[in-house]
Symmetry: C2
Subunit: 206 residues, 2 copies
């Protein structure tokens, strides 16, 4: 792609480094910004820089936060004995949206994935193990993606805390609400039969 302006070229190249945005889409975004008032670009740049410069992580759960301890961890109404292990902030937001969980979180910052060069040392696993050691936790709930990497990460952590008397659970795998049985994959359907729940329990939280 040849550009008539070095400024455009630079902006397009920077935007195109973001995941899922190619050079054509980047150029479309740049041309959009050019049609908008200058302030929009200024606000966008400022928001990005400020976010990147000033962002903090909760010292307790490693969730993204504006203070040293995040709102969830500093909320005394929540059960600090129950820790839900998740991959990143998006999962925290998703679980919070359900309104069903009253414990706290532990954000790993990813999952073990040798293909992407992510090993256990790059994740916030040590601090989780320490919490268990210091008897701060009564239950750990694994809420990672139901993928090979998620399962590997679950198992890696499980092996290191299995000897402690912490209760370890994982979120239920099964048929999603609204799904039709015939389209469910075999593994999911098989698990949902093996891990069936008493009928009275199935509508308890609705």
């Amino acid at each position: 792609m040849e550009f008539s302006s070095k400024l455009i070229e630079k902006a397009v190249n920077e935007i195109a480094q973001l995941p899922g945005i190619g050079k054509r889409s980047a150029l479309r975004l740049v041309l959009h910004l050019l049609k908008q008032p200058k302030e929009q670009t200024t606000f966008l740049s400022q928001a990005l820089t400020q976010m990147r410069e000033n962002i903090q992580y909760c010292t307790n759960c490693h969730n993204i936060s504006d203070s040293l301890v995040c709102e969830i961890c500093s909320n005394t109404n929540r059960d600090h004995q129950v820790v839900c292990v998740v991959e990143d902030i998006r999962d925290v937001m998703a679980i919070e949206n359900t309104g069903q969980y009253r414990g706290i979180y532990h954000v790993l910052g990813g999952k073990i994935s040798p293909i992407d060069g992510v090993g256990p040392s790059q994740l916030k696993i040590t601090t989780l193990l320490e919490k268990v050691k210091q008897n701060q936790v009564s239950e750990i709930i694994f809420a990672l993606s139901a993928t090979m990497e998620g399962d590997t990460t679950n198992f890696y952590i499980y092996k290191q805390i299995a000897h402690s008397n912490v209760q370890i659970s994982t979120i239920a795998r099964g048929i999603a609400v609204g799904d039709e049985l015939e389209y469910a994959d075999e593994v999911t359907l098989g698990r949902s039969i093996l891990q069936r729940v008493p009928f009275e329990k199935s509508f308890k939280n609705n």
Copy 2:
């Protein structure tokens, strides 16, 4: 969507104002930037601000440029009598990529579209008409999208220069190279028959 950090929220809201990017995608981009070195965000912000602040438009053809007159307009090897009317810089790039055109351009900056609130006065039509009046042009080639808006814009300009002795043409509509006839729409196929070209001409430029 509730965010655990105001900084994240602000960045997501700014990014989500761009066309084709929703809040979820914006959050994905923000989390990506957080995982990358700080410099990437700095470079991105700087490139955007500099682009928006310092961008110039060619005084002759209104194409985006780093100088007062763009490279194409200042190229004396090109035919300044032939003007190709296009919508925006992307069309200039697309036509330049073909390597088949040796004239100059006139970038309208959009097309007449009452639904989007774009009328003739918002487009760079007056300067085009002036070029025609001052006899600087021998041929005008319409190269706008083959849509209702494109055709409206073509016709609007045509009506105002039809009385002059400028030659007016439009890029050929027809079956795209590589396309199969059975999948072509009727209007395109119909036009391609009515506007058939001598066979010798059809492989002249290959």
